[in-house]
């Protein structure tokens, strides 16, 4: 039994991607037999993927970096022609996010999508999205990253347009596919630049030999621009509210994960691939030397602040429930970028060693930013599920035509309150835990950032209080007489997310020590990621 488990752990990096991929193409076959059986099959596949992701994450958190070779596994001098999966703490952390959301989404879909046709394709695409996300976060190969990025984009775009009779959905899908294909082509161009210079596609090999030449700077710009566009950092956030509100809510939950996977790409490029080169001095002003890390860090911080402010103000202005949550999601992405930008701006060389280090508050900011990623996935995910539940019960998303829902939909109201408090960073929920760390650490970088961040967080609360007031409180509307509580499967999936939100909020120390800390260590020590493939110290 133990040997069996060891064997599974050994092959888990491949299985985590292979299971949803195989499951995706088996789904239509199972669907030909029976719809219920297909739903069970898809839930089983996502749970199985989740099981292997947890096995893998557990192994990585205890034993360190895992590499998995596709192709020739015998020792060979040239690591170019093989594809590596390299799983460090950050990848494992992202893999956990990338399996929680599809599990919730497929359970939710059971009732939410019941009356739709074309569900075989729907489930196939959801599993393909899962495959793409997991592949993006686990792979150690640049070109492989591009391929998984495209798999995710194509599956996502097709699902955003699932309701092809809705104007919103189809135009959002077109916008999404244009944005993501241009982004992916930029990524491919940058990969070609790397290949032309270093004759390698493996991230660790590139990071080892990168010289920060002029071409590398162009590649850095292309990669950051493209991935930030896919992660919806201002000024390239315009697609996100459209896409999030156009897609069925069950799909939006998974799209939240793909957005975070793109953000993971930004982190991987900045910290691992370019990590060693960011201290290159660009200009000397007296005693003070301006390094690339300061320029990049300040640039990201400015963009992130703009992202937060734009997201919050557009959310205040918006009158459509799902679009409003979409803008809040933009703001939440800003919080993560703010923390990471602050962390990068504190890069320095430690005394006596050659290693690039961050100051202690830089490390703290990174912890907050990464912890906020999983919290954002849960909070925004739950908000969209609630929005979907309201849509399911009333067929409405405009706040002007909603009211008095708390009388009929007790559980949904409770879940909405939990998500509301978590997303706006109120204790004792998870949003508070990570936002507090971010506030504390960015205060050391610049106090104004903290003020803006706290003010915007309060305004997010204001946004949702408005929603709560107009949708859940107030008199019963005559048009909503026949509203009923949503079916069990939707309540269960909302319950899972709400449970995790409360759990993360009550025991943040435990989560940070066991899940977030390995991810932070993985990002702040690119050397170990590189030496796992290249060898040496």
């Amino acid at each position: 039994m133990n040997e069996m488990l060891d064997y599974l752990v050994l092959n888990s990096p491949a299985l985590v991607v292979a299971i949803p991929l195989l499951g995706a193409f088996l789904t239509p076959l199972v669907g030909m037999i029976n719809g219920k059986l297909r739903n069970l099959f898809v839930i089983f596949i996502t749970l199985l993927t989740g099981f292997f992701a947890v096995l893998l994450a557990n192994d990585v958190f205890t034993n360190g970096i895992r590499t998995y070779v596709f192709g020739n596994s015998s020792p060979m001098t040239n690591p170019v022609v093989r594809i590596f999966f390299e799983v460090d703490g950050m990848s494992a952390f992202m893999a956990l996010i990338a399996v929680i959301l599809p599990i919730v989404a497929v359970i939710y879909s059971w009732a939410f999508m019941e009356k739709e046709t074309g569900l075989n394709k729907y489930y196939t695409l959801i599993l393909l999205m899962t495959t793409g996300m997991l592949g993006m976060v686990l792979t150690g190969d640049m070109f492989n990253f591009f391929v998984f990025l495209e798999i995710t984009s194509i599956a996502t775009a097709a699902l955003v347009a699932f309701w092809t009779n809705k104007k919103n959905s189809v135009q959002a899908a077109f916008k999404y596919i244009v944005i993501s294909s241009i982004g992916a082509l930029f990524v491919l161009f940058a990969i070609a630049i790397f290949y032309g210079q270093y004759n390698a596609l493996n991230m660790a090999v590139i990071a080892n030999s990168i010289s920060y030449s002029f071409l590398d700077k162009i590649a850095l710009g292309l990669l950051i621009a493209a991935l930030a566009m896919k992660a919806a950092i201002a000024p390239m956030h315009m697609w996100l509210p459209d896409t999030y509100s156009g897609a069925p809510s069950s799909v939006t939950v998974v799209i939240v994960g793909t957005t975070l996977a793109s953000l993971y790409g930004v982190f991987r490029i900045l910290f691992t691939v370019y990590g060693r080169q960011l201290l290159t001095i660009m200009r000397q002003i007296g005693e003070f030397s301006v390094t690339s890390s300061i320029v990049l860090g300040v640039f990201i911080v400015i963009l992130a602040t703009i992202t937060i402010v734009i997201g919050v103000f557009m959310a205040l202005k918006s009158n459509d429930f799902k679009r409003m949550i979409g803008y809040v999601a933009v703001a939440e992405i800003g919080y993560m970028a703010l923390a990471v930008g602050s962390a990068i701006s504190t890069f320095h060389i430690a005394d006596g060693t050659a290693a690039v280090q961050m100051t202690s508050y830089g490390e703290m900011a990174l912890t907050g930013g990464i912890f906020h990623m999983i919290n954002d996935a849960l909070d925004i995910g739950l908000l969209f599920l609630v929005a979907g539940a309201i849509y399911y019960a009333t067929k409405e998303t405009s706040l002007n035509r909603l009211g008095g829902l708390s009388r009929k939909m007790k559980y949904t109201t409770v879940f909405f309150l939990i998500a509301l408090f978590a997303a706006s960073g109120l204790p004792p929920l998870n949003g508070f835990a990570s936002k507090l760390i971010i506030y504390q650490s960015i205060y050391q970088v610049n106090p104004i950032l903290t003020i803006v961040a706290i003010l915007c967080s309060i305004m997010i609360l204001a946004v949702f209080v408005k929603v709560f007031h107009s949708a859940f409180l107030g008199p019963k509307l005559p048009s909503l007489k026949n509203v009923k509580e949503v079916p069990k499967s939707m309540l269960i999936s909302m319950g899972i997310l709400a449970f995790l939100i409360i759990l993360f909020g009550l025991f943040p120390e435990y989560i940070i020590n066991n899940i977030v800390e390995p991810a932070v260590n993985a990002l702040s020590n690119p050397g170990s990621y590189i030496s796992a493939i290249v060898g040496g110290a």
């Binding site: 070109f143 495209e150 290949y195």
Partner: protein, 116 residues
């Protein structure tokens, strides 16, 4: 002499720029899609050019006449990229068909959501 070797790279930059201009400034959705395919061709040409060495032959090892071969990896990458490009193109065109059915126009200025 230098300029002849650089012609492919100039073509790459030209294709990508023309594509970007089309995507940003054109209002017709079909033209936007054409712009994206132009960018894609530019990137593919860039990959192929990187792998080419002067006077090289195709990298097929059996019954090779000898001499230098062009790099096979960029060609494999380009093939993958072309296949992905076809899928994206088909998806975009099918969205355009749906948009035309719903809106009766392909002008990006007139295509907005139902609300707001």
């Amino acid at each position: 002499m230098m300029i002849t070797f650089n012609i492919p790279f100039i073509a790459v930059v030209g294709l990508i720029l023309v594509g970007l201009i089309a995507v940003v400034f054109k209002r017709n959705l079909i033209k936007i899609v054409i712009g994206i395919t132009l960018i894609e061709s530019g990137v593919n040409l860039f990959l192929i050019t990187l792998g080419y060495r002067e006077g090289s032959i195709a990298p097929i090892y059996s019954s090779s006449p000898g001499g230098i071969m062009s790099l096979p990896v960029p060609q494999a990458l380009t093939l993958t990229s072309i296949v992905i490009g076809v899928a994206v193109l088909a998806l975009m065109i099918s969205f355009i068909i749906h948009i035309y059915k719903l809106y009766g126009t392909l002008d990006a200025r007139k295509i907005r959501g139902d609300e707001e």
